[in-house]
């Protein structure tokens, strides 16, 4: 065990994967000798050589197209998109190509060995273009898996599982937590299962669900609620596609109430999918409407980031309004 931050856990997962399988390649903008703008690939070129960890030209559609070709050829590429805000030039390659490769070829070809890593989310004074949480664009795409870790232990275990998984995975890293989140992480390789939510804290009155950096927000809200005598069950979804309905439904049937929290805007956010599916699954158990605490339906702000943010206070408002319904 070592005490590391989330970034070091990502780096350790990449190093482990490259050590285990010489077909694992890491590349992207500034990923090579420099080790990435956040340092996630630090030291990898030195250890594994420039043919396995390297810089690419500045072209997101090229990086993902290239990674798809590598995966079709049975390498195990881990491509980095420097910020999730810049993934959109690669949208066509991800949505029309990677996601549909196996299906459209009748399983003659697949790009299941592909993993795309990208830092997402706000809280770093990044404004519109260094803060977005674009997960819902991709959860609407059959064929992709979407995974989000919340701490160093998950980052290593889920990233190793994503690299090993035989489906294309979009791995969204909460950049706000890169250095802020630290914890004990095993030095040896391990994987955490994809598609499985984690009950972070058990409770009886209301279920709170989030993923990535927002899990600490709902934990904080749960602490505040506890002071008011409200017992919250806190769930980290971990994988958004395919998501763990069973764990969520069991919790909501128990508590009868649900508050969903995500940083992305409300309309057509992934919370809408959770709310719709869980009212189908738990209708007769619900004591109050399912509520969403999210970013507003605006672009991500700069000066008013605090006002945009679906923080613990807003979450507590929602918890109280659900309890008082």
């Amino acid at each position: 065990m070592s005490k590391v931050n989330l970034l070091q856990a990502v780096n350790s997962a990449l190093e482990t994967a490259m050590q285990q399988d010489e077909r694992v390649l890491c590349f992207g903008e500034d990923v090579g000798a420099f080790g990435g703008v956040f340092r996630a690939t630090s030291g990898l070129q030195e250890k594994f050589g420039p043919s396995r960890c390297f810089n690419t030209p500045l072209t997101e559609q090229g990086i993902i197209g290239f990674a798809i070709g590598l995966a079709a050829q049975k390498q195990r590429p881990v491509a980095e998109i420097q910020f999730a805000d810049y993934i959109f030039p690669a949208f066509d390659q991800l949505v029309n190509e990677a996601a549909k490769y196996r299906y459209r070829s009748g399983n003659e070809f697949d790009v299941g060995s592909l993993t795309v890593r990208t830092p997402y989310g706000g809280g770093i004074n990044g404004g519109l273009y260094h803060s977005q949480s674009p997960e819902a664009y991709f959860t609407h795409t059959p064929g992709l898996k979407v995974v989000v870790p919340r701490n160093p232990y998950q980052a290593k275990g889920l990233l190793l599982a994503s690299i090993a998984d035989n489906n294309p995975v979009l791995f969204l890293e909460p950049k706000k937590l890169y250095r802020a989140s630290t914890g004990e992480v095993p030095d040896e390789p391990y994987q955490l299962p994809l598609g499985k939510a984690e009950v972070v804290r058990e409770g009886t009155d209301i279920t709170l669900v989030a993923w990535g950096a927002q899990v600490q927000v709902i934990e904080e809200a749960a602490d505040k609620a506890a002071e008011l005598g409200i017992s919250c069950e806190v769930i980290d979804l971990c994988t958004l596609l395919p998501w763990d309905r069973a764990t969520l439904a069991a919790s909501v049937k128990k508590t009868g109430r649900l508050v969903i929290n995500h940083e992305a805007p409300k309309t057509s956010g992934f919370g809408a999918e959770l709310a719709a599916s869980l009212q189908e699954a738990c209708f007769l158990h619900l004591e109050s409407p399912i509520l969403r605490v999210t970013g507003w339906d605006t672009p991500f702000p700069l000066a008013l980031e605090k006002e945009y943010f679906p923080n613990a206070l807003r979450t507590l408002d929602a918890i109280q309004s659900s309890m008082d319904y």
């Binding site: 459209r104 399983n107 070809f109």
Partner: protein, 395 residues
């Protein structure tokens, strides 16, 4: 260490703008339309057997395209795309490669696939999207693919295959395989960002890929002068630092020779190569298109006189390897085979309901399992509304 070029390298003191109009890239050609080599041209090293296989593929594709277009007009298939006029470009470039080299095609390269050995039944099964289609009936006609033949399944979005071909080729280099990728695309697709991304990455990362542009004059209705202002696609090669050749795309021997040389560069150096084949789409863009709205009969007939299949046939006859009678009987044989295969393929059932949900992921996740069961139950309750699948479902 820096690899930034020196500011003082080759300074000049007059502002002399580079005028692209002053340097036009020439076209490599060997064979005249009458089947004679140009006086100073030398035929490539092409055996009789190899040449006859190329020609047999030409005639098969002519028979296939002719029959499938007619079938579309009769309403037996929904959609089709012919490659008439461009056969030398894809078939002779494919003929210059090894079977283990990988093909990333756009959608008008069925000839390259036929050359590789895709059978007439396999063509028909894909076109009729029946249960024997390798693609499980999921894509419109002409979106072929075959793992066994190293022909990556085609997708409709244009130019997406270009950076993928680069990645695939880089993977081959990592594996130290003496293999290349050939990537086909049209001059219209070369306007997409993926063209730039794919070529630039291939050059920088030294990927053994042959970029093969079929410049056939039109992107659906848009002529080349409304697609780009430069000297075609070949002029872009130098900007990326890629060795480039423009070739007469209707000249089977020149295309073959150019691709043989390109393959050698790609494998040995290793680095990408760009070939621009100048040709003409004699047919419509697709069965949904009518070219009379955007080009003249005169223009078409001028190009019809440059028919690549006739040109190669003349050469074969002059070699003493082929006769007019063989040409007629071979074409008749292919027509018969296509007609018979079509009758067989159109009678086969559609793929089963399970294939609607399989292959989205490597395994069915819970939500797709649930949706499959939901679909089954609905179909069983309403069997007459779903004749293709209802009869095969088990209650």
């Amino acid at each position: 260490m820096t690899d930034q070029p020196s500011l003082h390298h080759q300074q000049v003191h007059q502002a002399d703008f580079l005028d692209p109009k002053k340097s036009v890239i020439p076209t490599f050609s060997l064979l005249q339309q009458n089947g004679e080599l140009y006086p100073t041209a030398e035929a490539p090293d092409l055996s009789k057997q190899h040449a006859l296989k190329i020609h047999d593929t030409f005639l098969f594709i002519r028979a296939l395209d002719e029959r499938m277009l007619a079938s579309q007009r009769q309403g037996r298939i929904s959609f089709y795309m012919t490659e008439i006029g461009e056969e030398a470009a894809d078939i002779c470039s494919a003929a210059a490669l090894k079977p283990e080299d990988t093909i990333f095609a756009q959608y008008r390269e069925q000839g390259a696939l036929a050359y590789r050995g895709f059978s007439v039944d396999q063509f028909m099964n894909q076109i009729f999207s029946n249960e024997l289609d390798l693609g499980k009936g999921r894509q419109m006609p002409v979106h072929y693919g075959s793992k066994a033949l190293n022909y990556v399944t085609i997708s409709s979005p244009l130019a997406t295959q270009i950076p993928q071909a680069t990645g695939y080729a880089y993977g081959l280099k990592q594996d130290k395989k003496d293999q290349v990728v050939i990537c086909y695309f049209g001059e219209g697709a070369a306007s997409e960002g993926d063209f730039h991304a794919g070529l630039n990455m291939a050059a920088v990362l030294k990927a053994p890929v042959i970029f093969f542009c079929r410049n056939n004059g039109y992107a659906i209705s848009t002529p080349t002068h409304e697609q780009f202002a430069g000297d075609g696609i070949a002029s872009r090669g130098a900007g990326y630092g890629i060795k480039t050749l423009r070739v007469d795309g209707n000249d089977a021997l020149a295309v073959y020779q150019a691709t043989c040389l390109a393959r050698k560069i790609a494998v040995e150096e290793p680095q990408p190569v760009l070939i621009e084949a100048m040709t003409y789409r004699l047919g419509a863009h697709s069965s949904s298109d009518d070219p009379s709205g955007y080009r003249s009969k005169e223009e078409e007939s001028k190009w019809r006189e440059q028919d690549p299949v006739a040109r190669f046939s003349h050469w074969l006859i002059k070699q003493g390897w082929w006769t007019k009678e063989q040409e007629e009987s071979s074409l008749a044989k292919h027509r018969k085979q296509v007609a018979e295969a079509m009758k067989k393929a159109e009678k086969l059932p559609k793929p089963p309901l399970e294939t609607l949900f399989s292959d989205v992921y490597d395994e069915l996740p819970w939500h797709l399992e649930e949706q499959l069961e939901e679909a089954k139950a609905h179909i069983l309750r309403n069997p007459t509304a779903y004749p293709a699948t209802a009869g095969r479902l088990v209650k």
